[in-house]
């Protein structure tokens, strides 16, 4: 399973992104990711999830998951984030920031 993640927006308008493949992850992380994708029912989520009352300076998340023949992309605003998707976004956000920090020795 391949996952790409991007966080944009916030008052700073910074972009954090990461791409990962479960094949290259420790087994427990790979398992955790698969479970979070399942629990979010990711492949059945709408492509764009927005709030009826958009809030300025909230984050925008874009997630793409590819698994065998299936691929789905979801763009979601922070204030409209479904509870079921929140753990996956949180995990990927931390991963993206961790990877970016590694670039800075």
């Amino acid at each position: 399973m391949k996952i790409s993640f991007e966080q944009s927006g916030g008052i700073a308008g910074l972009r954090f992104a990461t791409t990962l493949d479960t094949a290259g992850l420790p087994p427990e992380d790979a398992q955790k990711l698969r479970r979070m994708v399942d629990e979010a029912d990711f492949f059945n989520l709408p492509a764009r999830i927005v709030s009826p009352r958009p809030q300025p300076d909230r984050f925008q998340y874009k997630l793409q998951v590819q698994e065998s023949s299936r691929q789905h992309t979801v763009t979601v605003s922070e204030e409209a984030l479904p509870t079921s998707l929140a753990p996956l976004v949180k995990w990927l956000g931390e991963e993206a920031r961790r990877k970016m920090r590694e670039k800075n020795p």
């Binding site: 008052i11 809030q55 300025p56 300076d57 925008q60 204030e79 800075n104």
Partner: protein, 347 residues
């Protein structure tokens, strides 16, 4: 009889009764009822009801509270009231900064533009501090302010910068006026209005003329680990930071470099560099205190001329016509605004 006190009484008198008092009471009672109605708990989702109410007394109604989220998050945020208007300074710097920043923002809008708080009806300004943990953001949630403490790695606490506070509260003003859609060019204009008035709040507090101001947004918000001076530069968009972790400031300084992207709601924090620089060019060409003339022109455009779908071109024509009405056809002010929008390639 009702006692006009400033202490919030959320939950004691139901909103429909307060509305009746606000409509029919004496001036003192109206003011008291409006204050309590606008207290955050009551206004969520009740703006339509509020619109039917009479405007608060002509005198300004400055009332601020600060709540402590204690890192618990929530949407809307949770957390008890820890500070209210007139309290002696808190031991918590985030509380004092949120309160003082809200005060400086209120004062700019009231003293210079005769606007009575965010909604022009004297609404209380409610701020939540210590939102979530390591939260790298601050935002206006439609009714109140929310501030994170930052992760200490990239960001310091978000209350630290008074222009960030002015930026966020201006999103509330925009919501009540032009209500610019938060996407593409109207979204970038929405962002730019927040940067403009956020910077003016800071310039006025520091008593800086346009030529003395740094024209930066969020100077001091990035930690010393980051190579950058601020989040954005209105004077030189694209130069605020250049860092191995954050990358380079992506803001364009003119229309030729307008960024087309689906990230960030169509680059609202990116393309805001263009109208930001137009404001900087106009304000420095006019000279003196930027909040007095250039700020007034932009404020009147935001209040009376712009609509939710307004583009940069519309902002240019609106500000030029406001400058003409306020300062005269062919005035230096009008020419400065025209040249500014030409300078960034919008007209």
């Amino acid at each position: 009889m009702l006692n006009a006190t400033n202490s919030p009484i959320r939950g004691i008198i139901p909103p429909h009764m307060l509305e009746e008092i606000a409509k029919r009471g004496t001036t003192r009672q109206k003011d008291w009822a409006l204050h309590n109605l606008t207290f955050a708990g009551f206004v969520r989702g009740q703006r339509q009801a509020m619109a039917a109410l009479p405007t608060a007394a002509a005198v300004g109604h400055k009332y601020r509270t600060v709540n402590d989220n204690k890192h618990e998050g929530g949407n809307p945020p949770t957390g008890a009231l820890v500070f209210k208007e007139g309290d002696p300074a808190s031991a918590d710097p985030a509380v004092n900064e949120a309160y003082d920043g809200a005060g400086a923002t209120y004062d700019l809008y009231y003293d210079v533009y005769q606007r009575n708080s965010i909604d022009n009806r004297g609404m209380s300004i409610v701020s939540f501090v210590h939102y979530e943990s390591n939260f790298n953001n601050a935002f206006w949630d439609g009714s109140e302010m929310v501030y994170g403490d930052g992760d200490g790695d990239i960001f310091d606490r978000f209350t630290k910068c008074i222009d960030v506070i002015g930026h966020e509260l201006t999103h509330g003003v925009t919501q009540h006026e032009a209500n610019l859609a938060y996407s593409g060019q109207p979204g970038a204009l929405n962002e730019s209005m927040s940067d403009v008035f956020g910077s003016l709040v800071k310039q006025r507090v520091l008593n800086q003329t346009a030529d003395k101001a740094d024209w930066l947004i969020g100077a001091g918000l990035l930690t010393s680990k980051i190579q950058g001076q601020a989040l954005r530069s209105m004077k030189a968009p694209g130069t605020a930071y250049d860092d191995p972790v954050l990358g380079k400031d992506p803001q364009p300084a003119d229309m030729q470099h307008y960024v087309k992207t689906s990230s960030d709601n169509g680059g609202v924090h990116i393309n805001s560099g263009i109208p930001n620089r137009a404001f900087y060019l106009a304000a420095t060409a006019i000279g003196g205190n930027a909040w007095e003339k250039a700020g007034k022109i932009w404020y009147v455009a935001l209040r009376d001329r712009l609509r939710s779908n307004s583009t940069f071109k519309r902002a240019a024509t609106a500000t030029i016509s406001v400058a003409k009405e306020l300062f005269g056809d062919g005035s230096n002010e009008m020419k400065a605004v025209q040249d500014a929008w030409k300078g960034v390639g919008v007209i």
